[in-house]
Symmetry: C2
């Protein structure tokens, strides 16, 4: 990579912004599209992947917590979650303290599917991390954290950092 293009001091504020948003757009677009083919073979889409991921990361997550985390409506969640439950990838346990609650877990089948979906995406991201270098990865995390809306940041960072960096 031509280092001059990554030298922040040779960029005006406007140029920094343009480069930031364009790289974010293309990097995100390409990264997020990686699992599309695998998802499609199961009749699933990106929203299904998202549910599988966050339920896997937070076993016992309540439906209301998931709605809040993903910032989507009940209808949006229900449409996708129902399919995952029906097909046996997610199971809903009744809350032991509050039996109205539905606590979400991946089934073994769901975990296997998630692993399969994630496999190449993980490989791709780790390869990108290796190429960019450890310090760049730390910077990447810092900028992204700072891009998260103030009102969401604390909760999101708590969840993202769960069980790591200790």
């Amino acid at each position: 990579m031509t280092d001059i293009f990554f030298n922040v001091k040779k960029h005006s504020d406007h140029q920094k912004f343009l480069k930031g948003m364009e790289l974010l757009y293309f990097g995100y677009r390409d990264f997020i599209s990686w699992p599309d083919d695998v998802l499609q073979t199961y009749g699933f889409g990106r929203a299904h992947h998202r549910i599988l991921h966050f339920v896997g990361r937070n076993p016992g997550l309540k439906v209301a917590e998931l709605l809040d985390l993903l910032n989507i409506t009940k209808q949006s969640l229900s449409r996708v979650l129902s399919t995952l439950v029906e097909k046996g990838h997610v199971r809903q346990d009744i809350g032991s303290i509050d039996r109205r609650q539905r606590l979400l877990h991946l089934t073994e089948q769901g975990q296997n599917l998630l692993d399969k979906i994630t496999e190449h995406q993980k490989e791709h991201m780790l390869k990108a991390f290796k190429k960019a270098g450890d310090q760049s990865v730390e910077g990447f995390w810092k900028v992204l954290s700072a891009l998260i809306a103030d009102e969401n940041r604390t909760e999101i960072l708590d969840r993202v950092n769960k069980d790591m960096g200790e």
Copy 2:
């Protein structure tokens, strides 16, 4: 920010991947949603914003080049582009050498709209950059560049780096 959570050496590969993808998801989601309200007052969406942006960045862009850059179909582009042309934000010039081509430019009105849409998003991103620090911004750019699919990277980086870092 608690530095320990950004210490890459205290993360396994799996943890690096999880943190990367989750921060990318939330950072992108929140950042991209900023202009939604302004867009909506014009009856526009994110796809309109995208067209305005890339046409503004590449005056004289051919329709086919835009299709290739955004990796979408003619139908998708046409639906959105037509509206922008009809409402006077984009104009199509006939190519002087090849009169079949349509060369896209923002009108003054379109540039004004783009400036308005972009204003708070830019402020937000620059604020995030300031918070994270110059070295983090360089890392951010490097990781995102490496996340772009191999087959897209050269062309995208050429366009992104146009007129900057010299």
